[in-house]
C-alpha cells in the first residue's frame, strides 16, 4: 500500500465558511488510518489571484509545494480549485526546466527552492488511488441503502485533463464510483459535469445563481434526495446560495448538499452530529430519514 501520510492543504474557503467539510474530512481520514499533517506556514494556493497576476499566483503555489517538499510528504487538498492549481503549477515546473530555473531565482528571495519532489492529490484521488475501492468497501458498516444521491463533481479536479490525467474528461466517474461505494443509489442528471459558476461571483453574483439553479433543478428532477460535492466552492454555490436561488426565482428546492466526506462518514457508521451535518444551510434531517428505517 502506498504511503498514507499527507500534508493537509486546507486553502481559504474551508476555514472561512466550510468548517463542516474539514471536520468530516478529518474524522473520515482518521478512521481510514490516513495521517494528515497540517502544513505550517502555508498560503493561499494562488488560484484566486491568477487572473490579476499569473506570476505571483504561480509563485504562491510553488511556495506551498516547497513547504510540502520540506515535510517530505505528498499534498492532500480538499478543494478542487486548490488541487487543480497546485497540480498544474507542479506539472509545469516539472516539465519546463527554464520555468523552474526562473521560479527558483524568484524563490531565492525567501530562501527556498523547488525540487519537484512532491505530488498533489485531492482527497477523492487519495480515496480511490491510495486507499482503493476494495479497502474502502470494508469500512462501510452501514450502507446507505434507499438514499438517492446526485453527485456534483466540479471542474478543477478533472479539467484540464492533460494535467489532471483523467481518462474521461467529459464525464469522469470518480465521484459516482465513490458514492456507489457507500451503498447509495447514484442518479445521473443533465449538466452534472458543468461549472457551478462560483468564480463568477467575484465579478457579479448573477450568473452563479442561474448556474446553481440549473444543477438544483436537474438533480431534483432526476429524483435525488441529496446532492454531494467534492469542493467547498461548489458547496457554497449549491448549499450556501440555495436560499438565494429560491428567492430569486420564487421556487422551492430544499435539496440538501452534503460534502462527500460526510456521506462516506455516515456509511462508515458515524453520526450526523459527529460529521457536522447540522451545519449545512439546507437541513438534511428529513432527507436522511430513509436511513433510519
Amino acid at each position: 500500500m502506498a504511503d498514507m501520510n499527507y500534508a493537509l492543504f486546507l486553502g481559504c474557503m474551508i476555514p472561512y465558511r466550510e468548517g463542516s467539510y474539514e471536520i468530516s474530512a478529518r474524522k473520515v481520514a482518521k478512521a481510514l488510518d490516513l495521517e494528515l499533517v497540517d502544513m505550517p506556514d502555508a498560503n493561499c494556493c494562488g488560484l484566486p489571484l491568477d487572473p490579476a497576476s499569473h506570476e505571483m499566483a504561480l509563485a504562491m503555489a510553488t511556495r506551498n509545494l516547497c513547504i510540502a517538499e520540506k515535510m517530505g510528504l505528498k499534498v492532500m487538498a480538499l478543494c478542487n480549485g486548490c488541487t487543480g492549481f497546485l497540480k498544474k503549477a507542479d506539472k509545469r515546473l516539472k516539465d519546463d526546466r527554464d520555468l523552474r530555473k526562473e521560479m527558483n531565482a524568484k524563490l531565492a528571495a525567501v530562501g527556498i527552492q523547488y525540487l519537484g519532489k512532491t505530488e498533489v492529490k485531492h482527497i477523492a484521488n487519495v480515496l480511490t488511488e491510495d486507499v482503493g475501492f476494495e479497502k474502502l468497501k470494508t469500512y462501510v458498516k452501514r450502507p446507505l441503502t434507499g438514499l438517492t444521491v446526485a453527485p456534483y463533481t466540479g471542474c478543477h479536479i478533472f479539467r484540464p485533463s492533460k494535467v489532471m490525467g483523467v481518462p474521461h474528461p467529459l464525464s469522469p466517474q470518480i465521484l459516482n464510483d465513490l458514492v456507489e461505494v457507500t451503498g447509495a443509489k447514484v442518479v445521473e442528471y443533465v449538466d452534472q459535469y458543468q461549472c457551478c459558476g462560483a468564480s463568477e461571483g467575484s465579478i457579479d453574483n448573477k450568473i452563479p445563481v442561474y448556474l446553481a439553479r440549473e444543477k438544483l433543478r436537474n438533480a431534483k428532477a432526476a429524483g435525488a434526495d441529496v446532492m454531494v460535492t467534492l469542493c467547498p466552492t461548489c458547496h457554497q454555490t449549491l448549499d450556501g446560495n440555495q436560499p438565494l436561488v429560491e428567492r430569486t426565482f420564487q421556487e422551492h428546492y430544499g435539496l440538501p448538499v452534503l460534502h462527500y466526506t460526510q456521506l462516506l462518514g455516515l456509511a462508515m457508521g458515524m453520526s450526523p452530529e459527529e460529521l457536522a451535518i447540522n451545519e449545512l444551510r439546507v437541513k438534511a434531517v428529513k432527507a436522511l430519514e430513509v436511513l433510519n428505517t
Partner: protein, 188 residues
C-alpha cells in the same frame, strides 16, 4: 460598459422575445499588429493563433448560455486581429475558468489560458476590477484570500480542530516584490 447588458433569462419562454436583450453595441476598433506579438509573449497566451473560428468553445461554454456578451470565440478572434481594446472589455473577466472549451477545442487552443493572459494584460494596463485589488491586499495581509473573523478562528478549538497555520507574511511580501505584483495590478 455593463457586462450584464443582455443577460438572458432562459426560463421566460415567450416573454424572452418581448423583452429582447440589448444587443452588444457595434463598435469600430483600431487594429494594432504589435498587440498580437505582445500577447504571444505572455505565459500561456500563445495558442490563440491556432484558432480557426469554429465556435465550439462558445457552444460548450456554460457562461455563454446566460449572457450574450461572453463569447470566447469572439475574444480569440479579437486577439488574432490585433484589437488592443479587447483588454478594456469587461467581458474577459466573465470566463469562469472551467476548462470546458479547452477539452473540446479541435485546434488545441488553451482558451482559458489565453483569456487569463488577456486578464493579466488588462490588469497591467490598469483595467482590473476592484475586486482583484482588494483580494491582493487581503492575501498580503492574511496569507489567504479571505479575512477569517477572529471568532471563527477561536471557535476552531471548541470544534476539535487544530489552530490554522499562520503564513509568514514577510515571505509573501517579498514574493510580491520579485513578481512585481504592484505593477501587475496597474499601480506604481
Amino acid at each position: 460598459m455593463n457586462p450584464w447588458e443582455g443577460v438572458v433569462e432562459a426560463e421566460k419562454g415567450e416573454d424572452m422575445m418581448a423583452e429582447a436583450p440589448t444587443r452588444v453595441q457595434e463598435r469600430i476598433y483600431r487594429i494594432d499588429p504589435d498587440f498580437m506579438h505582445e500577447l504571444l509573449k505572455m505565459p500561456g497566451g500563445d495558442s490563440f493563433k491556432l484558432c480557426y473560428q469554429c465556435g465550439t468553445c462558445t457552444a460548450t461554454c456554460p457562461i455563454s448560455r446566460f449572457t450574450e456578451v461572453f463569447r470566447p470565440n469572439k475574444i480569440m478572434h479579437m486577439a488574432k486581429l490585433g484589437i488592443r481594446d479587447v483588454v478594456k472589455e469587461d467581458t474577459i473577466w466573465l470566463c469562469s475558468v472551467c476548462y470546458n472549451c479547452v477539452e473540446k477545442c479541435p485546434q488545441g487552443v488553451e482558451i482559458t489560458d489565453v483569456i487569463r493572459a488577456l486578464k493579466n494584460k488588462a490588469a497591467l494596463e490598469g483595467h482590473v476590477p476592484a475586486y482583484f485589488r482588494e483580494l491582493a491586499a487581503t492575501v498580503l495581509k492574511t496569507g489567504v484570500a479571505y479575512t477569517i473573523p477572529g471568532s471563527r478562528l477561536a471557535a476552531r478549538e471548541t470544534r476539535g480542530l487544530p489552530p490554522l497555520p499562520k503564513t509568514n507574511l514577510d515571505d509573501l511580501k517579498k514574493l510580491a516584490e520579485v513578481t512585481h505584483l504592484e505593477k501587475s495590478l496597474g499601480k506604481a
